[in-house]
């Protein structure tokens, strides 16, 4: 990890188009300003972690049908596979 010391009003450049400015520092807290491209995703790490955990919780397990999830009867024993058997459309077809 690169470690730099900055004072309020001083900045750090990351690459060509990201500028990180120390706006204010106080005991136990620092206030930062970030300039960068509009499409650059900037998040507090705890929010990123929360979303990551939510995404992982949203992975659909195998072995239950959508009907069981919707009806709330997820404890019912099932015979795998239970996802809807399907007729495949011809290759590449969409509706």
């Amino acid at each position: 990890m690169l470690i730099l010391t900055r004072r309020p009003g001083e900045a750090i450049r990351i690459g060509d188009n990201i500028r990180l400015v120390v706006l204010q520092s106080a005991p136990g807290k620092v206030r930062l300003g970030i300039e960068g491209p509009l499409d650059l995703r900037i998040l507090r790490e705890e929010l990123y972690t929360q979303i990551s955990q939510g995404n992982q919780a949203a992975v659909a397990p195998q072995g239950l049908s959508l009907a069981q999830w919707v009806s709330g009867s997820v404890d019912a024993p099932v015979d795998a596979p239970v996802d809807a058997p399907v007729d495949l459309p011809p290759h590449g077809e969409s509706s």
Partner: protein, 147 residues
Amino acid sequence: MEVATRFGLLPVGQHQIWTVSSPLPGFETLQRFVLIGVQTERPFLWLQSIDDAGVSFLLAPAAHFGLRYARIDAQSLPMVMVLLPTQSGQPLRAHGQAPLVFDAQLGQFEQHIVEASEMEGDGVFAPLAEVLVPPGLMSRLLVLNPQ
């Protein structure tokens, strides 16, 4: 190409492949997906990873969970991942702070990350009478018909 999915091996056309514009948090190595719609499962769709057959998400329009976002145009019909219940009697809930917006023209989607203060709604499944589908999405959907 043939893709391993939760429904088995399926033929997927190039136009049915979606790429994620920024990696999904928690799944940074997954880039390509296919959207699968089962005729009898509307308004739900499946977002199946092409890069990892074991990863699929159940999606539905955020509106079916009563969710509205301050900084996302409602006309783009954001979708949400569905958090599936692990015990009987639990309702379907949305992963509401991370809606997905699909751009059918580019064949890309993005997961927005939203502060709790930028959204409204409880995120509990309450289906609307009207089945909402994001604009243009049908043209890139892999549709399956139950037997």
